[in-house]
Amino acid sequence: MNMKIMVKIITPLLAGIIFGLGLLISGMNNPAKVRGFLDIFGDWQPALMAVMVAAIAIFAVAYALSNKMKQPWFHSIFHQPSLTVLDKRLFIGAALFGIGWGMVGLCPGPALLNIMTGREDILIFIVALLVGNRIAHFTVGPAK
């Protein structure tokens, strides 16, 4: 295997490991803690806010750096998100996600990570999530 292919495997693999460790160290793998953040009218726990602020600040710096680069270190182009429109689709999608997120306290990242706990409740949630993905794919379809 040549060097270039190895780097293209190691970069996302390492990013996944660091991302997961970040979730675990911050406690965001724990749905109870996430729901604690969403419970602003009850026993509010601002923890998630600190996690978000730190993550956004660091990514913002990296993104600003990339504006001065022609291409990423190990790839030909930046896959710049192309959608900018504020349409019904965005609001409905975000609202549905928000309701599901509030119900259990799991968003996709922690849900995938928690597969490793082997717990039945997580596996049920993941299967439901994939079914939801399929339903949206076949009814609404991908964004243009």
């Binding site: 490991i17 660091i18 979730l23 900018t84 599901g100 968003c107």
Partner: protein, 138 residues
């Protein structure tokens, strides 16, 4: 507080590495869609990222022990929430990572609007479940 800031910094660092290294946005709902809807050309990096995410768990347990994880065991709630998260992130093209972290960091109006929307609906949902339904199923 320090754990939250350090963990958040790691999440930001991971997103930075993925963007500066291979030019991809660290959006987990995107990763899920790429993997399970068999999106050609996006599958490889998503697969490696997913593998890394899973690998972080035993690594963490090795050094810090099993992390706390408390959630509802109510299957009706789990299934409906899972379907809603799966549909919502697909339709809205993102979740806490893609819109919340990366999109906000890019100062994308679309992502910031999405983040405010799902946070507002999440808060409303918790309010309704905790206050009006006496902590239903939790």
């Amino acid at each position: 507080m320090w754990n939250e800031l350090a963990g958040g910094a790691l999440i930001g660092l991971a997103a930075a590495l993925l963007w500066l290294g291979i030019g991809r946005i660290a959006g987990i709902s995107g990763v899920v869609a790429n993997l399970f809807l068999l999106r050609q050309g996006h599958r490889n990096w998503s697969l490696y990222f997913f593998a890394g995410l899973l690998a972080s768990y035993p690594l963490y347990v090795q050094f810090a022990g099993t992390p706390d994880m408390d959630m509802t065991g109510n299957k009706v709630i789990l299934i409906s929430a899972g379907v809603l998260v799966g549909m919502g992130t697909y339709i809205g093209n993102g979740c806490t990572s893609g819109h919340g972290v990366c999109g906000s960091g890019r100062l994308s109006v679309r992502s910031i609007v999405a983040t405010c929307t799902f946070m507002a609906f999440g808060m409303l949902t918790v309010l309704i479940m905790n206050k009006l339904m006496n902590g239903a199923g939790v």
